[in-house]
């Protein structure tokens, strides 16, 4: 049958707790094997959804993000509904459901209705291949990294549909921007992931975690540049500030979301967070060793480590959002093509060379630590040199104006007053 269906490691609920494993073992005795197997998968999916995705979405994504951003902006954030304002996301959802879902008269109604649904589906599908812990992956397919990339290229279509169908010029701007940005950022994104793939020699996410476990080093230490580029690219694809040009509030009102209201808007908003969380989980799995922590996973459940790392990466998303201004659309394009893409190619060259050396040394365990040290230094140098080459001259931008004592006419630059 297909690799999707034949993989022998489905989601195994037994890792989550003894109660469910007891139930399943009891069922195993009375029911046929396949039924119990599928039951375990379903329970595992529901459990992971209830235990991780939904709480993350609501309480880390919506509440935590607003609360943290509030603290960064010296305000309190939501603190009225429930204890510490924890029920705020639910109150928001109730409000959004009550609101009327408006559709402009000249809008393309069918497309406008379908777009939010299409936007939600990939966000759920993405979690299928992320390993929460040992054997705790819903579909452990051999090409899970490719699967993640493929599925995460789908929401672009939905956002484009949303922007185009509303028949609003701001929405159309958002649609144009997101389409052009995704074309530009897809290539450095895939190139940098290729670095991680070449290093670990697998395109299975479980395989990558296993690699990190085997060599006792996370991919990020050997591929620091790849993580940085991937983080920037994925922020661009997810429309997170500082690269949220598709829904840039101060420029094009809300971009492709301008004409949406009610729960249709809520789906876009909620799933934006869902995609950021999924990307955090992906970064954790590929670059930060997934559910392993240098042997600590023997004492702490792996899924707790995974969730902690995911939230840490998500905090980075929140932090950049709270701090940085937004780049212009053409600057973003130039950044992708002139800066990130060449750096990704350099990175790939370096890691391929290292992989070749490593192969000749018969994958000696110590060598990877040498690579890590070399790569960290090399990445810093590369970024700086390439930035200088691209015209990065901070010393040419004075941060203080000139001061003069007397009022008068024009004073050319360089003239003492």
């Amino acid at each position: 049958m297909t690799p999707f269906l034949t993989s022998d490691r489905w989601y195994d609920i037994r890792d989550l707790g003894n109660l469910s494993s007891a139930i399943l073992e009891a069922l195993d005795k009375v029911l046929p094997f396949e039924v119990v197997y599928i039951l375990a998968a379903v329970i595992g999916f529901v459990a992971s959804f209830l235990l991780f995705v939904l709480p993350s979405q609501l309480f880390v994504g919506v509440y935590g993000e607003r609360r943290l951003i509030g603290r960064m902006q010296s305000r309190l954030g939501p603190n009225r509904v429930g204890p510490f304002g924890l029920l705020q996301p639910i109150a928001d959802a109730i409000k959004l459901i009550q609101k009327e879902a408006l559709t402009p008269t000249q809008a393309d109604r069918a497309v406008m209705y379908v777009a939010p649904i299409l936007f939600v589906m990939p966000a759920v599908l993405l979690w299928a291949v992320i390993p929460f812990g040992e054997h705790m992956v819903i579909a452990d397919i051999p090409v899970s990294l490719m699967y993640f990339l493929a599925v995460s290229s789908l929401p672009v279509i939905a956002t484009f549909m949303a922007g185009w169908s509303a028949n609003n010029k701001y929405s159309l701007f958002g649609a144009m921007r997101i389409v052009s940005m995704v074309i530009s950022y897809e290539s450095p994104l895939v190139l940098t992931l290729l670095g991680a793939v070449v290093l670990t020699g697998t395109i299975s996410l479980s395989g990558m975690v296993a690699w990190a476990d085997e060599f006792n080093i996370w991919v990020v230490f050997v591929q620091p540049l790849a993580l940085v580029i991937y983080f920037i690219c994925v922020s661009a694809e997810l429309n997170r500030t500082p690269v949220d040009i598709a829904e840039a509030e101060s420029e094009i009102v809300a971009g492709y979301l301008t004409e949406y209201s009610g729960m249709k808007w809520g789906l876009f908003y909620g799933m934006d967070i869902g995609y950021a969380l999924a990307a955090s989980g992906f970064i954790t799995t590929v670059f930060l060793g997934g559910w392993t922590f240098f042997g600590l996973e023997a004492w702490i459940p792996g899924w707790l480590i995974f969730i902690a790392k995911t939230y840490l990466i998500y905090f980075l998303f929140i932090w950049t959002r709270g701090t940085l201004p937004r780049l212009r659309a053409d600057q973003l394009m130039a950044f992708a093509w002139k800066f990130l893409l060449p750096l990704g190619v350099f990175n790939l060259l370096i890691v391929s060379t290292e992989r070749m050396l490593w192969f000749e040394q018969d994958y000696a365990k110590g060598l990877v630590y040498v690579f890590a040290a070399v790569n960290i230094a090399l990445s810093a140098v590369l970024v700086y040199v390439w930035a200088r080459f691209n015209g990065y001259r901070p010393e040419r931008t004075p941060t203080r104006p000139r001061l003069v004592k007397q009022a008068g006419g024009y004073i050319p630059v360089g003239e003492r007053s």
């Binding site: 497309v111 490719m146 990339l149 493929a150 599925v151 789908l154 279509i157 159309l172 389409v179 897809e186």
Partner: protein, 173 residues
């Protein structure tokens, strides 16, 4: 081997989705709708690839066709003006469709009249790793030529779409 209810159901659903969506490309008057139907077709074909144990190809299909080509087409549609976004037929539509119908008849006849020698079990070495090995050993020359082709296409596309102002800007620089 394609036994069992699941693969059968998957096949029929995918066939329906793919062919209906392809028909949608044909009949929809709005060019944007046609592109959206085209994307659905691509996804359906990717589903077929999964069903045929070609998981790497399926993912590549989604990444390249949906993530890149369809987005490019959408972009091109946006760059052409609203007035030329209809998807109507030319005067020569009828002969073209007739030709396609005839061809379909021939194809179907050939497909169903030939006694194909088929195997039931999927071949063992259809994994991504063996594909990579094949690409870099047996097929390494076409592989390199394909990369040259891609580069040429990239450069060519950039040169084609440059506007006169940009040429002037570059001439000054």
């Amino acid at each position: 081997m394609m036994d069992g209810f699941g693969p059968s159901l998957a096949f029929w659903v995918l066939a329906a989705i793919t062919l209906v969506a392809a028909g949608g490309v044909m009949v929809s008057r709005n060019l944007l709708h046609a592109v959206l139907f085209l994307i659905l077709t691509f996804v359906g074909v990717a589903g077929f690839f999964v069903l045929l144990s070609a998981d790497f190809i399926a993912m590549a299909q989604v990444i390249i066709y949906v993530g890149a080509i369809a987005v490019l087409v959408l972009f091109a549609v946006l760059l052409t003006p609203r007035s030329s976004r209809d998807n109507s037929e030319t005067r020569w539509a009828a002969p073209g469709i007739l030709l396609a119908v005839c061809l379909a008849a021939i194809f179907l006849f050939v497909v169903h009249d030939t006694a194909w020698r088929t195997v039931d079990a999927a071949p063992a070495n259809l994994s991504a790793a063996s594909l990579g090995r094949a690409l870099l050993s047996t097929w390494v020359v076409p592989f390199e030529i394909a990369s040259v082709l891609l580069t040429a296409a990239l450069v060519g596309a950039i040169m084609l779409t440059r506007s006169p102002e940009e040429e002037a800007e570059d001439a000054l620089a």
